[in-house]
């Protein structure tokens, strides 16, 4: 079973040389810490920066340089700033190669719900709906089940949707899964997790073909 850092580490392996990547808040943010150092990757934040670097040293923070999580950041050589319309031109125009975001629920057809729980205070979708509607490659980082133990990989989402038929891959604390036309295809097991356990934790249709390797991180 993986912890949050483990999920981020596994997702980092999906980040390829030359990728422009947009990271959502939560576990996705951690992915930046684990990307191989011998490849070139640039992080885009939808509030208007490409080429994000690490947090600033204390005292060097600039209120005019933040990420979409409103955190103070730095930029790396080759960075650029731009307006919101251009930022979403990058996203909608499929110039960003990979989007990694969290989810409350994912359905076996690739639908995702991650912005609203009816009856609770709704903060909004931010850029998530634009990201999931446009990105060619969307990886969801999430826990396989909720705190009550119920599956978050469903036949159909029960919460209001963020986007339809869009999720390509899911990395959970238990498994790596690909979203196919037939359902969730199990690709890898987390260390120490059995296929049976993954089956039990997956409400949506799970496809298990042949031997399922344990993931290496």
């Amino acid at each position: 079973m993986l912890d949050k850092n483990g999920i981020a580490k596994r997702i980092a392996k999906e980040v390829k040389d030359g990728y422009y990547v947009n990271l959502g808040i939560g576990i996705p943010t951690l992915v930046a810490n684990f990307v191989r150092e011998d490849i070139e990757v640039e992080f885009q934040s939808e509030n208007g920066v490409l080429g994000m670097g690490p947090f600033p040293y204390e005292g060097e923070e600039d209120p005019d340089i933040i990420n979409a999580g409103k955190q103070t950041i730095t930029t790396l050589p080759g960075a650029s700033f731009f307006d919101s319309a251009m930022s979403f031109s990058m996203i909608r125009g499929k110039h960003v190669d990979l989007t990694i975001l969290g989810a409350m629920e994912v359905a076996e057809n690739g639908d995702i719900a991650n912005w609203k729980i009816p009856g609770k205070m709704v903060k909004g979708m931010g850029g998530a709906m634009d990201l999931v509607a446009s990105a060619e490659n969307i990886i969801v980082a999430m826990m396989h089940t909720n705190r009550a133990g119920a599956s978050k990989l469903l036949k159909r989402c029960t919460l209001p949707l963020t986007g339809v038929n869009c999720v390509k891959k899911i990395v959970t604390n238990m498994a790596v899964l690909e979203v196919t036309k037939e359902g969730f295809k199990l690709l890898e097991r987390a260390p120490g997790v059995s296929v049976e356990e993954i089956k039990d934790a997956t409400e949506g249709h799970l496809i298990v073909e042949g031997e399922i390797p344990e993931m290496t991180i």
Partner: protein, 233 residues
């Protein structure tokens, strides 16, 4: 050269009245029109509709207008770092329309550019698409979204000149350029206002034609919402 300079925030906000629709630049607390917001608090205009990506925090940004119950409706992509906002929203005092961030930006740009409407894939199949026209292009579903209409746009830039030309800094740029010229009257406040001719014409982000009034603000607070730092090793 056409002069856009006004003396102060009071002059800049002349004509503002109850029940108007405003656009306000900024992302979180970065690049918000601090001085215009302070003046709106002072004027205490009510029944406002505010188009702004976020709604500030309790004691800064649009939160200041919320405290005085000046806002009737917020049109935003992400809100609620703000207790008073939450209280008014849950009690039904405040109307909130949540729209995707890219749609928000483009509805501003469409208004600026004279496009009445555009098709975007964002929100298709979600409650955002309810009641909206849906259309397929290249095998992908899109929804039709409309240009915003607003009375005033309040813009915060870094530098400006008396011709109304603007230069933004860092991510404080965000929605500000897209809102210029998108409302009937665009009011820009800048940290440094220089005479026309002092900015490189090649490096202007927004030409003065999109700005009706410009003034220099002093003592910007520029509050940081999420201070994140790393330690020297």
């Amino acid at each position: 050269m056409i002069t856009k300079k006004v003396l102060n925030v009071e002059e800049a906000l002349q004509g503002v009245s109850d029940n108007m629709t405003f656009m306000l630049g900024g992302f979180g607390l970065s690049g918000i029109p601090e001085k215009a917001i302070a003046q709106l608090v002072k004027l205490n205009v009510k029944g406002l509709t505010c188009i702004s990506n976020n709604a500030g925090v309790d004691d800064f940004g649009l939160g200041l207008l919320l405290q005085q119950k000046q806002i009737k409706k917020m049109i935003s992509s992400y809100v609620g770092e703000n207790d008073e906002f939450e209280r008014q929203m849950l009690s039904g005092e405040l109307e909130v329309e949540l729209i995707p961030q890219g749609t928000l930006a483009e509805r501003c740009r469409a208004a600026q550019s004279g496009f009445p409407a555009f098709y975007t894939p964002a929100g298709y199949g979600t409650e955002v698409a309810e009641g909206k026209e849906v259309r397929e292009f290249n095998g992908k579903m899109h929804i039709l979204e409309y240009a915003f209409k607003a009375d005033f746009g309040f813009i915060k830039a870094w530098k400006g000149d008396t011709a109304g030309n603007l230069i933004f800094k860092g991510t404080a740029r965000n929605f500000n350029p897209n809102m210029c010229g998108a409302a009937n009257i665009t009011v820009a406040e800048v940290e440094e206002l220089v005479p026309a001719g002092h900015l490189d014409p090649n490096q202007i982000h927004i030409p003065g034609i999109f700005v009706q009034r410009i003034f220099e603000g002093v003592n910007y607070e520029k509050r940081i919402e999420q201070l994140t730092v790393r330690q020297h090793q």
